[in-house]
Amino acid sequence: MKNLLSFFKGNTPATVGTIIVLVFVLLSVFAPWITPYDANKRVARGHQPPSAEYILGTTRSGKDVLSQVIYAGRISLLVGFGAGLLATIIAVLVGITSAYAGGKVDAFLMFVTNVFLVMPGLPMIIVLAAFLGQVGPLSIALILGLFGWAGGARVLRAQALSIREKEFVTAAEVIGESKWRIVIVEMLPNMVSLIVGTFAGAALGAVMGQAALEFIGLGDPTVISWGTMLQWAQHSSALIVGAWWEAIVPGVAIALFAGGLTLFNMGMDQVSNPQLKGSKNLKRWKKLNDELQAQRKAKLAASKASISKKSAQDGVMPV
C-alpha cells in the first residue's frame, strides 16, 4: 500500500490521470442512479440548447445528451477496458515467452509481432467488420484486443530480456526453480509498472479505435456509445446547424477519458524513467546555480574595483 501511495507522490500526471479515469468509472457504474432521463427515450424537442432542464441539451431526435453521454460511457469504457485487458494478456504472454524461450520460438513470435505492428490496423478491422456484417460491442472489443497487443508485446519482451540477464534470475535457475516459478515469482513483479502502462496504452487505443469504428458506421446502431453519438452528430450536421452540444459533448467525453489515460501513462513513464520526473527541483537548482554565479561575479567585480583603487593609490598599474 505504501508503494502505491509513493507512486502518486510528486507525480502530477499520474494523480490527475487516475482521478479522471476513476471519475468516469464511477459515473458509468452509477449511471442508472444519476442520469436524469432515459437515454433512449425522446424527452423533448430536437436540438434544444443546454438549459436547466436539459443540462447538456438534446439531440436531433430529442434525447437528453447528458443521460446519453453517461450511458454511452458504459459501453465505451467496457469495450476500452475489455479490449485493453485482452491485448495486455496477449502482450504479456507473447512478450515474456519470447524473451524467456529465446531461439526459434522467439524468432517466430517476433515475426508475428512485427507483422501485426506494421499492418495498418484500422483498414484491416474495417474490412473484417464489413465481411462479418454488423458487429456488436463484444465483437468490437474482441477484434480490437486481437489487433492491439503488438506494441506492448515488443516493449515487454525488451524488458523481460533485460531482467532475464540479471543475476537473480540466473541464481534462481541454478537453484533449480521451475521455469514457471521463475517467470511468475522473479520476473513478473519487476515488470508490473510496464504491464500497467501497457494496459493503459491498449485501453486508450481501444477507446479511440471503437469510436472510429462506430463513427464510420460499423458498430451496432442500437447500442449507444460515444462513437455512435458522434456519428449521429455528423449525420445531423449538428455543428453546422448550430447544435454544437450534440457533437462536442461526446467528443469532450472521449478526449477527457483519453487524456486521463494518457496522463496516467506519462506518470508511469516517470516511474520507469526518473530522469523525466518533475522539473520542480530543476527550477530550484537553476535558481540556486544562477544565484551562486551572480555572487561570484559580484565578488570578482568588487575585488577588481578594490585592486584598481589600491593601484590608483599606489600609482601602480592594476594586474
Binding site: 499492418m119 495498418p120 483498414p123 462479418l132 469510436a211 472521449i254 478526449a255 524513467n273 520542480k280
Partner: protein, 325 residues
Amino acid sequence: MGRFLGSRLLFYIAAFMVAVTFNFVLPRMMPGDPFEIMFAAAQGKIQPEQMAVLKEQFGFVAGPWHVQFWDYVKGIFSGDLGPSLTYYPTPVTEIIAGALPWTVFLAGTSTLICLIIGILLGIFSAYNRGGKFDSIVAPALAFIGAFPQMVSAMLILFGLGVFLNWFPVGYGYNPDIDAGWTLAFFGSVAYHAALPLITMVICGIGGWLFLMRNSMINTLGEDYITMGKAKGLSTRRVMVNYAARNAALPVVTAVAMALSFVVAGALIIELIYNYPGLGNEMLGAVASRDYPLLQGLLLIIVVCVLTANFLADLAYFWLDPRLRK
C-alpha cells in the same frame, strides 16, 4: 548494408503475403454466401454469367484450397484485382489509381510537417526544460492531440471552414478547374488540402513533440554531451550534432510504428472532409458491400504502409553509422 536492408525487404514481402492471405481467407470465413451478397450489392449491374468471372478473381476456382490460393496470388501479382461492384465494370485498379495520389499526398505531407515541426519544437522544449513552452504549450498540444480526430476535424471544419470561411470544406480541388499541370490547378489543390492538412498536423504534433523532447532529455544526460561542452563547442553545435542527432534515432524508429495510425487518421479525415482519397472510397465500399474494391483498397494501403516503413528503415540506416558494419 545490403544484409540489413535485405532482411527488412524480405520481412515486408512476408507481411504483404499475410495481408494477401487475410484477403483470401475472409470471404471463406464469413457467415452466408459472399457472392449472393455481392450480387445484391451490385444492384442488377452484374449478369449471373459474370459472377463466374468474379468467383474466379476471388480464387473460388475448382480444386483444393492451396490451388485456389496460388491462383489468387497469381492474380494479385499480375495486377488483376477484379471489378468494382458499385462502379461496375470499372476495374478496382483504376479506382485505386485515381484515389491513391490524394491519400499519399495527404498522409505524406502531414507526416513530414508533423515530424519536422515536432522535432524542432521537441528540441526547443527539452533545451528550455521547465520553462514556459515546456510546461504550458507542449502539454496543451499533447492534450489537443488526445482529442479524437473526428472531433478536431469537425471543429476545424466548422471553425475555419464554415464560420470563418477561410478554406473550402470538401473535395480535392475545385471541380470547375481542369486537372492538369497548371498553376491554377495546384493552387486549388493546395487550397482544398489546407483544412485536412491543418487537422492532421494539429492532431499529430503533440505526440512527436513529446517523443523528441523525452528522447532529448535522455540524450542530454549522456557523457558525450558533457564532453562536447568540455570541448568548448558552441551550444548550437552540441545541441544539433551531439544531442539532436542521437535523440532523433528513436523518433525515426517511431515513425515506422506510427504510420498505421497516420493511415487510420487519414481515413477519418477523408470521410469528414469528403476528400477523394483511398479512405473515402473504402468507407463508400463498406456501405455498399463492394468486397472486391474493399480488398483491393486494403492491399494498396498495406503496400503504402510497408513502403513507407521501408523508407523509414533507409532513413534510420543513413542516420546511424552503427548499422553499417
